[in-house]
Every structure is written in structure tokens, then in C-alpha cells.
Amino acid sequence: MGDFSSALFALLIFPGFGFLCACALAFQWIDRWVTARLQGRIGPPWFQPLADFVKLMAKEDVLPIGAHEQACAALPMVSLAAVLTAALYVPVGGLATSAFEGDLIVVLFLLSIPALAYFLAGWLSVSVFSVVGGSRALLQYFAYEVPFLMAFAGPAMLSGSWSISRIATQQSQAVGMVLVQPVGFLLAFVGLIGKLKRSPFDIPKAKSEIGAGPLTEFSGRKLALWHLSLHIKTVVGIFLLVDVFLSGSFTGLAVPTALAFGVKVLFTLLALSVAGVLYARLRIDQLASLGWKVLAPLALAQMLAVIWIGAG
Amino acid sequence: MNIELMLESLRETSPTEALEPQAVPIDETFVTLPPDCIHAAVQVLVECFDLRHLSAITGEDTGDEIVLLYHFWDRHGLTLRTPLPRQNARITTLTDLIPGAAFYEREVSEMLGVAFDGHPNPRTLVLPDDWAGEPPLLRPEKRQ
């Protein structure tokens, strides 16, 4: 009984659904607030993401004629389910709901489901902007995914385990993976920007070009769920990056794990916001050539280096 | 811009008319030509004097006739004026000499109902798709 209730607690409250939703809203606010501050504005109040979410949930839900109704209703749920499942295996401050050897691969796979759902959402909601946005989302997926995966292969091979928890705990006794594989960290960071479709890689939802991209025709509850799933994906992505690359100690002091984790997560979030503020959006062909001509070769070099070190 | 030389050449294009240049405020010379000479005259201006900057085409319904004004500019303004009858007004397009004239001609055509022969794309420019009335700049009191 105790096991069951604690498992339920882990699933629903911490570090499960409730905690992730709270983080998603908080991260969204921090991101918007930091961006506003960097742009010389005041920014939204802290409850803004919550108000947005509640408002959207209570709005009329319409779809254009010709859109595939069941699919459009199911896709945000699929996306949400995938990121929530992925979150189970990503430890928060050293605590993982569950773990097994190879969960890194499963998580990376689950995290790419929202991208596919996003593409389908664009494809099935008939508006031209949605279709263009959807096809861009797919193209973008091919541009960032390979270097992103290869960047995560480095730490896994070095620590000899494909379990996120294991990689994290191994590091915490040694130095952070970011110092051993700085290139890998950078690639994972850039890949994450692409994965989360954040500025400057917000190509599939470029407001000034194609409206809101695949989500142009979504409204009300479906839009709210889409936003929630994409923001939880941001949370999981940041946690994953911190676990795999930043789990080590950097100060040499004995800081409580949870506190250290929180600081590192905030740092990553700030870095994401700053990157969004500093650059102009790239074009999809520019991103593709960046992905294949710069990021992928770098990732390959990183992997070869790891193999060589491991062998030597 | 050598106005004298230009006028000399323009006289050759329309031998029947005596070209009387008329100076108008702010550096502008007006010349009146018959409608069938406009294309030839502009051809001379473009080919011999490289006068290709057509600033605008003004169309006006004076009540008795429709007047077209072609405003050229090259450090000094030169305007060619030509009168057209109110009934069945038509004139040769200039788009083959000056592609930029296309929009100006479309506007004159919908505002005053002037037909431009040879215009590549004579659709409406600014009037709504469902416009059913008379061309809006024709004087209402004289409309038939």
C-alpha cells in the first residue's frame, strides 16, 4: 500500500504531472519576463501563463471545415502523453520516478514524438500556413535531430551507461560532463533550441511569416493543451540537459543536490532566453545547412574523440 | 535636362501642331500634344534623351473632355498634356517604353474609364472587386 501511494504521489504530484505543470508555467513566465527585461520592457506578471491557460481552456473550440476532427483532438494529447512519459525517466535533483538501462534512448525517442504530432497537426488542419509550418517542422526535425542525438551519445559512452540516472550519479562523484565534452554540451544546447522551436530556430511557427505555424487553426482547449505539452517539453528538455551534462559539482563545495540542480536549471533557462534575444531567426535552408555542415560533423568528431579516449 | 532641345524633337513628332510650351509654377514645363502623338513623343524622350522617369499620370475630367497629363522628371519637370473625348476615351499604352507606367495607367483607366490599348494587365487597381458604379472621378453632373 505504501509503495502504491508513493508511486501515485510520484506520478501525479512530484516529480510527476503536478510538478511538471507548475514548472512549465513558471519557466514560461521566467522566459517571458527575462526576454522582456532584456528588451527594455517590464514584462508580464507572474501569474500570466496560468491566466492564459485557464482562459484558453474556457474558450470556444472551433476547427475549420475540412480539418480532421478526431486527429486534431488526439494530437495534443499524444504530444502531452509522450513528454509526460519521458519525464518519468529524467531525474529531478537526483530523484527519478523510474530508471532502467537504456532509458536515455527511450527519452530521446519520446521527446521527438511531439515534433511529429506537431507536423501532423499542421498537415491535418488544412490551412495553408499550417501545412507550410508543418513541413518546416519536419525539415527542422531532420536538421537538428542527428547532432542532438550524437551529442548525447558522448556522455553515455564515456560513462558506459545509457541510463540518465546512472550518467547523472556517476558525474556527481566526478567533474561535470560539460568540462569533459564542452563541444557536446554546446551541440546539445543548440539542438535543444531547435527541438523546442525557440528563437532563433522558431522557424515552424514564425509569426511574421506563417502566422502561428501548425497551430494557426487551433483554438480553445486544444490550443491550451498544445501550449502545455510544448512547455512541459521545455522543462523535460532542460532537465535532461542538466542531468546529462551538468550533474557534476563545479564549486567543490557540498551543496544540497536539489539546490544545485535548481541553480543549474535556471542557468540553462536563462541561457535559452538570452540566445533567443540575441539573434535573428534563420531560414529553414540556413538551419539545414547549419545542422548538416557544422553541427553534424562536430558531433561526429566529438564521438570519435570519445571513442579514441575510451580506447586509449 | 535640355528643355529647348527636347521641344525641338517633340515638334518633329507632331508636325501638325504648333507646340507652345507653358511654364507652370515649381520648375515645370507643360506641352500639349494630340493623343495619337503621345506614344511617338515619349519614344523620342526615352530613346534620345534617356528621359525615363515618369513620375505620374494624372487624369482629369474637366467637364468637356478628359485630360491626361504625363509628368516626367529629370532635374526639371516636363509634362505632356493630351485631351481625350469624354465618350469612348482611348489611348495607346506606354508600358512598352516605360514598364513603370502600368500602375499609373490602370489607375487612370478605372478612375476615368479611359482605355489603354495594349496594356498587358488592365485589371482594376484600387477599386473594390464588386464595384458596379461609374468610374468615380467622372464629373457626376455631366454624366450621361
Binding site: 506578471p45 492564459d52 474558450k59 | -
Partner: protein, 147 residues
């Protein structure tokens, strides 16, 4: 019990609507003067994001339609269509004298003379052009009306 729950839910939703009005901007034939002031309200000096106001790109995401211009014949159908695409509940704010009444363009052969000839308007913001402060005032008025 269920009535109390319903009442609470209702209040929460009303609170959320007041705190998160997403806007869509449509120029129905105005001179740009009010339009640049609307955009200006988003920028650092006025920053309406602190009131939760965002400028959205798609009518499906918008709660408030900000209209400028006296409505030309060509823009009329489009204006109506954009309003129809917006999910309920939705509000319309007419910004600028010409969108309130036709303004200087009243009597022109191609203008209808005001947004309210086509759509139900909730708030009128006069001024030619109106200042960003006036636009924000109008939006705050709308938010108070939602009470």
C-alpha cells in the same frame, strides 16, 4: 455544493479572461496613424504585455479584435470573416476617429463609415490618431467591462 463549485469556476475563468486578453489587429482602411500607435503600445515605453496583452497572428487565438479605419468596401468582407473566425467570447475595439464614425473619410464613395456598420463594437477609442495611452485606456475599459 455544485453551485458553489460552479460559482468559483466561473470567477476563476472571469479572472483569467481579464488577465489575458490576446489581441488581433486589422486595418480596415485607416491611414496607418493609429496602427503604428497600436504597435507602439507593445514596445518598451508602453509595454502592454504587463497587462497580459499579446498581439496574436491568428484570429483563432485572439480574444479582442483591434480595428482601425473607416471600413472600405474591399475590406468589409474580410473584416467580417476575421471576426467570424474568432472563437467566442470575443470583443471588438474600434480605434481611431475614422473607425468610430468615418472621421475625415466620411462620405467617401468607397468607405462605409465606421466599424459598427459591420461588427458589434464594444469600446470606441476616438482620436485622430489616438495616442497609445488612449488605446491602453480603451483596453482597460474593456477589461473592466468584462467584470
Amino acid at each position: 455544493m455544485s453551485r458553489i463549485m460552479h460559482c468559483i469556476a466561473h470567477r476563476i475563468v472571469r479572472w483569467a479572461r481579464r488577465k489575458s486578453p490576446w489581441t488581433l489587429h486589422f486595418n480596415s482602411g485607416g491611414c496607418n496613424g493609429c496602427d503604428i500607435e497600436i504597435v507602439d503600445a507593445l514596445t518598451p515605453r508602453y509595454d502592454v504585455e504587463r497587462l497580459g496583452i499579446l498581439k496574436e497572428a491568428s484570429p483563432r487565438h485572439a480574444d479582442v479584435l483591434l480595428c482601425t479605419g473607416p471600413v472600405t468596401r474591399q475590406a468589409r468582407d474580410r473584416l467580417r470573416r476575421i471576426y467570424e473566425q474568432m472563437p467566442a467570447p470575443r470583443w471588438v475595439v474600434a480605434i481611431g476617429s475614422c473607425s468610430c464614425s468615418g472621421g475625415v473619410f466620411r462620405g467617401g464613395y468607397n468607405v462605409l463609415g465606421g466599424i459598427d456598420r459591420v461588427l458589434p463594437v464594444d469600446v470606441y477609442v476616438p482620436g485622430c490618431p489616438c495616442r497609445p495611452e488612449a488605446i491602453i485606456e480603451g483596453l482597460v475599459l474593456l477589461l473592466e467591462m468584462m467584470e
